[in-house]
């Protein structure tokens, strides 16, 4: 029995304890009297229920109004949240969390039963949560059977040993289990309130949380407001009094309103980073973000004949000029991608890929040779369609890709633009040739990417199937250090090339220069209002 007592909890408090009341100073800077933080939301929230919502916008709100067992620190490491400490059994299958003495915003104590209730609720087939699979991903005992309705909820491997001790049993050891706990779908919900009010518990006035903030106003299509929760266990360290999310659909209008001072944080519209960076260097930031942009190539029976040939797939992958995409179209410091998994992912070593080190001219030459070998040329041009979902940046990249393949390979490329749901349906039914896709990691570990391409994965739109690949990933689940398997798996992807890797994301954002504490270094870009503060400028 190993015990990890988290000293960092104490350190965390030491860092973030501002002596706020005393001198209103923080890290040598005078705190502003205005402690309201306003940011831009792209879209309305799907739901205020952390077990129902699936969008990033919602997760930002949930991290403020709820608190899971652990939180991300500004660098992306995990620090205790609702749990004060935890222990792992020797076989790494049992995690025991000791909860802090904390309260819900209605004054009730947060108990281990609330966690048990929440995790069962997420897995409940009647709730039909889209993120129920997350329980399965965490390999909680019986999660799969419970979600499928084959076993009762009580069989899920979670237990409240007493009101302050929460225990989770896993089916296989999962080295990154704790890092998965910052995801909003694992957050607790107040059992008493939910049971009493049913689906109405998230209606205005009913919502009860355990986070540093409480939701005080929600105007659909307009804004989401949360304010300091005085009952939060670490309320003393909270500096931002109020966080306002304004829903602004259009990215250019959002930027205008940022410049007008209406919002303190917004995304940099694609292509505008260099200009804004030159004009406002203190406010414009670009940092790695755990997402990867690719084109699926349909290798299935329903796909075009050409894409069944690995030489054609390689020719397409080689001849797409990633530098134009990152430096001329997106211009936000994105990384050229030769490999699906984001390069900044923790504990991941990229395979050494020969073609990644060639010049683009060399790649083009090779691509032409491969395509000629495969039997395509001027008299038998490659005919393919790129499908993408409606979005300005996707459109630009698809147009550029079609031009590369047209000019370099003489291919005849059509474009097809669809709504997201239609696009998804087409991908799932293999009704496409090449389809745009981007994946954002759920947690900071390579398997969140690589698992997508196993032969049983429902995401695997290419219908790529490799026994060796499946074996490597299955094996990685129980390895103490799976890094080597991940690298090997990534190598297989490069050899078979079921996808065209295009670029890896950065988060290019504008943040007002008096707002401090934004977690730029967190690859997952998980931010918490309570880590932030405004200073006098």
């Amino acid at each position: 029995m190993k015990t990890k007592l988290f000293l960092s909890a104490a350190i965390g408090i030491a860092i973030s304890t501002p002596g706020f009341a005393a001198d209103k100073m923080m890290n040598g800077m005078k705190l502003s009297d205005n402690q309201v933080f306003t940011y831009r939301l792209l879209d309305d929230l799907q739901s205020l229920d952390p077990h129902i919502s699936t969008d990033v916008n919602g997760a930002e709100v949930f991290r403020d109004i709820f608190e899971g067992l652990v939180n991300d620190d500004p660098q992306g490491g995990q620090i205790p949240g609702s749990a004060e400490s935890w222990t792992v059994s020797d076989d790494k299958l049992t995690y025991t969390f000791t909860l802090r003495d904390t309260k819900w915003s209605n004054g009730d104590p947060v108990t281990a039963q609330d966690f048990v209730f929440a995790w069962r609720r997420l897995s409940n087939p009647e709730i039909a949560s889209e993120y129920a699979w997350y329980m399965e991903l965490m390999s909680v005992v019986n999660a799969k059977a419970v979600i499928a309705g084959e076993k009762p909820l009580e069989d899920l491997g979670v237990k409240a040993l007493d009101s302050k001790t929460f225990q989770v049993k896993l089916e296989t050891p999962l080295p990154y289990f704790v890092s998965m706990l910052t995801h909003a779908s694992t957050f607790p919900v107040p059992q008493k309130v939910v049971e009493k009010l049913g689906a109405d518990w998230i209606k205005p006035g009913n919502l009860v949380g355990n986070g540093a903030y409480v939701l005080t106003e929600y105007e659909p299509g307009e804004k989401v407001v949360r304010e300091r929760n005085p009952l939060y266990w670490n309320n003393y360290s909270t500096i931002i009094e109020k966080t306002v999310g304004l829903i602004i659909n259009d990215e250019n209008i959002a930027l205008t309103r940022y410049l007008a001072g209406d919002v303190d944080k917004t995304l940099v519209p694609s292509g505008q980073y260099p200009r804004l960076e030159a004009e406002r260097p203190d406010e414009t930031h670009s940092n790695p973000r755990s997402c990867s942009y690719v084109y699926w190539m349909n290798m299935s029976e329903k796909g075009p004949e050409a894409l069944k040939d690995v030489r054609v797939r390689k020719a397409l992958a080689y001849s797409l000029d990633r530098r134009v995409v990152t430096e001329n179209i997106l211009q936000g410091g994105q990384y050229e991608s030769f490999n699906f998994t984001h390069q900044a992912t923790a504990n991941f070593t990229k395979p050494v890929l020969e073609w990644a080190n060639w010049t683009q001219a060399e790649r083009d030459t090779k691509a032409k040779a491969l395509l000629a070998e495969a039997g395509y040329g001027p008299d038998n041009p490659l005919k393919l369609t790129i499908s993408y979902n409606t979005d300005e940046a996707h459109k630009k990249i698809a147009i550029a890709a079609s031009q590369f393949w047209k000019q370099k390979l003489g291919a005849d490329i059509q474009l097809s633009n669809n709504e997201w749901k239609v696009h998804l349906t087409n991908m799932r039914n293999q009704d496409y040739d090449l389809a745009r896709y981007a994946w954002c990691g759920d947690y900071n570990e390579a398997s969140t990417y690589l698992d997508l391409l196993t032969s049983s994965s429902t995401f695997n739109a290419a219908k790529f199937a490799s026994d060796e690949y499946d074996r490597l990933l299955a094996e990685s689940k129980t390895q103490a250090d799976p890094a080597e398997n991940y690298t090997k798996a990534a190598q297989i992807l490069a050899d078979v090339m079921p996808i065209v890797p295009i670029y890896q994301y950065t988060s290019a954002i504008m943040v007002k220069d008096d707002v401090m504490g934004w977690p730029f270094d967190n690859l997952m870009q998980n931010w918490y209002s309570r880590d932030m503060y405004r200073v006098e400028k």
């Binding site: 250019n252 930027l255 205008t256 292509g271 200009r275 134009v324 179209i329 409606t390 147009i399 239609v422």
Partner: protein, 308 residues
């Protein structure tokens, strides 16, 4: 709909009056139209725009879908209008030649306008004339159907169609055309009804002239004035609707484009130092719509003159 139904009604009545009195309104109308300076100038402008759509491509230095890799990424700095590099109207965000894209966008927008108006006018005339000529309970049912269709928020139906069945020009034509013939059908029906019962038609019938001849000889020519005026006023409507559809991202498929799509793209980036991307397509759009409005109004005033 921005078309003045009242004036259309008045025009229809005037046309019936002419028919009854056995006069041809066309000779006078031609003269009046020629004296309408605004309408004549607009007609010239329209011919120029059409010529631009048809032959403008001959002067383009680049295809409309080709990315200029020497410019992409520095559009704001070096992508502006320039005679030297052959991008007469600059390039778009991706370094594609604006001139070539505007030529192609003009083709699509004019086509949407004309085809949409033609569908509407054909459907409306046919429907209205049939209902009016047959009369009785058939007429009743047909007009109730028009009433019902008029209650449908048509823009929403177009959005539904395009999101559900994927975007295509054909669907766009169908959606726009099929939902704008209703007013036309009403006017044509009214006019057919009032002609049908006139003495001279009854006299023609009594002397054994066939229904077919009556329709061809008296009713169709009489409808022509209303149809032409209505169609000319519908064209700008159609172009405006298409631009709204493009704004929602439901317009034509890349690399094809339209005025609406170009303007929308230009409007998005107007504060980023690439104003020509908005101004150039907007210029063509505004000028053409202005001209279409003046020609439509001029035609109507020429056929249905008022003493002022």
């Amino acid at each position: 709909m921005q078309i003045d139904a009242h004036k259309m009604q008045s025009l229809a009545e005037t046309m019936v009056e002419h028919e009854v009195k056995g006069r041809s309104p066309w000779a006078d109308a031609r003269k009046r139209f020629r004296h309408n300076k605004a309408a004549m100038t607009s007609l010239v402008v329209l011919i120029l725009v059409a010529a631009f759509a048809l032959f403008g491509g001959l002067f383009a230095q680049y295809p409309n879908d080709e990315i200029d890799f020497t410019i992409i990424g520095q559009v704001a700095e070096i992508g502006g209008p320039s005679i030297a590099n052959g991008h007469y109207l600059g390039v778009d965000e991706l370094g594609r030649d604006m001139y070539a894209r505007i030529v192609q966008g003009t083709q699509i927008s004019l086509m949407v306008g004309v085809v949409g108006a033609v569908i509407a006018v054909f459907a409306g005339t046919l429907y209205g004339a049939t209902a009016g000529f047959i009369g009785g309970w058939v007429d009743d049912i047909m007009m109730r159907v028009v009433d019902i269709l008029m209650a449908i928020p048509y823009m929403f139906v177009i959005i539904l169609l395009l999101t559900m069945f994927g975007r295509s020009i054909a669907l766009l034509f169908l959606g726009i055309g099929l939902l704008s013939w209703l007013e036309m059908a009403r006017i044509v029906r009214g006019q057919t009804l009032s002609l049908k019962n006139r003495e001279f038609i009854e006299a023609a019938r009594a002397t054994g002239v066939s229904s077919y001849r009556i329709i061809v000889r008296h009713i169709v020519p009489n409808l022509l004035g209303v149809v032409i005026v209505y169609a000319s006023l519908l064209v700008p409507e159609m172009i405006l609707i298409e631009s709204f559809i493009s704004f929602l991202g439901l317009g034509v498929q890349e690399p094809l484009t339209s005025w609406g799509a170009l303007i929308n793209e230009g409007a998005g980036t107007m504060q980023y130092g690439t104003l020509w991307q908005l101004v150039c397509p907007l210029f063509f759009f505004v000028v053409t719509l202005f001209a279409l409005f003046f020609v439509g109004d001029g035609l109507r005033d020429a056929l249905d003159p008022k003493d002022y």
